[in-house]
């Protein structure tokens, strides 16, 4: 994969994570109150899930 494609994929992952977290936060605002949950959500979306998906392929 080229570095440009890799960079675009990373930006897309972060945007998906942001959209999902914002949507979740609007309907369940309690999730917006914890930094640990926010950071955990980000790690899950941009690192752990993609790693698991790659590993299963």
């Amino acid at each position: 994969m080229t570095s440009v494609a890799s960079g675009s994929r990373t930006v897309a992952l972060y945007l998906v994570a942001a959209a999902a977290y914002i949507t979740l936060g609007v309907f369940f605002p309690r999730v917006l109150l914890s930094w640990v949950e926010g950071a955990g959500f980000l790690l899950l979306t941009v690192w752990l899930l993609p790693t698991i998906v790659r590993w299963r392929r």
Binding site: Y14, A17, A18, Y21, I22, G25, V26, F27, P29, L32, L33, W35, G38, A39, L42, L43, V46, W47
Partner: protein
């Protein structure tokens, strides 16, 4: 109080000071004044017993209370302790900058901070947005995201977006990683992609919750925007005789001069 500025300001400081600061202690400093106290301001329910300060603003910002955590001296004392224990000047300096940024930012609300404690317990405030912590978390969120508080946070969101390079992998590798051994220690357990996500986490958290709270307050609920100074007026704002930096002087000399 601020809802997202404390997450975002460290990235502006990092952008300007580069290798002279370490991001982790900078962030810890930025969160430090509220770390142990915020839960008691809003209250929590523990096995059916509500634990909450009788006077949230006094506890949060006053003395007697935990208001000393929002003073410049508190930052100096903790920074000195960090220096003594770790011998790392960059950790102490970074913590100090983060804590001072928090104390100065919280001067924006109507209660203000005891900036010069223990020399004085006067609170300094610019009165820009209403302090409504005593009304509970949800009303406080609605009020904050309807007044000038959310505008102030928005400044940091935009500033971060304009200076997006501070969030890139290249910047992380060249400027953030080399100055702080904590990242090297973390690299023994986590890949760089995960470390990078942790480095970006506060920016992600601050920006996304800023958007989410705005949508929650004005789309999911119907809190009314009021960008007047000290607003919104619909919430009972606290302001217990702070020193108002931009208030008109009421001394007899100024009154006679028509000022």
């Amino acid at each position: 109080m601020s809802w997202a500025a404390h997450d975002l300001e460290p990235y502006a400081i990092q952008r300007h000071l580069g290798r002279r600061v370490a991001m982790i202690p900078l962030l810890i400093g930025s969160y430090a004044p509220d770390l142990a106290t915020k839960w008691f301001v809003y209250g929590i329910d523990l096995f059916g017993i509500e634990l909450k300060a009788d006077d949230p603003a006094q506890f949060h910002r006053g003395w007697p209370g935990a208001g000393f955590t929002h003073s410049l001296a508190f930052g100096v004392v903790v920074a000195l302790a960090i220096l003594l224990l770790s011998r790392r000047r960059i950790w102490a300096f970074s913590f100090l900058l983060g804590q001072w940024a928090h104390a100065l930012t919280d001067m924006g609300d109507t209660v203000g901070t005891m900036l010069f404690f223990p020399f004085t317990t006067e609170r300094f405030s610019v009165d820009a947005w209403a302090y409504a912590g005593q009304t509970g978390r949800w009303t406080d969120a609605g009020a904050y995201f309807s007044g000038l508080g959310f505008v102030w946070d928005g400044v940091w969101v935009v500033y971060g977006a304009v200076n997006w390079r501070v969030l890139t992998r290249g910047y992380f590798q060249s400027t953030v990683l080399p100055v702080d051994p904590i990242w090297g220690w973390g690299a023994r357990f986590l890949p760089e992609t995960a470390l990078l996500a942790l480095y970006r986490a506060s920016f992600f958290y601050g920006t996304t919750r800023w958007i989410a709270w705005l949508v929650w307050a004005h789309v999911a609920n119907s809190f009314e925007f009021d960008l007047s100074w000290g607003g919104p007026d619909w919430v009972p704002a606290l302001g217990v005789l702070p020193v108002r930096l931009f208030a008109p002087c009421s001394c007899p000399a100024c009154r006679c001069g028509g000022g």
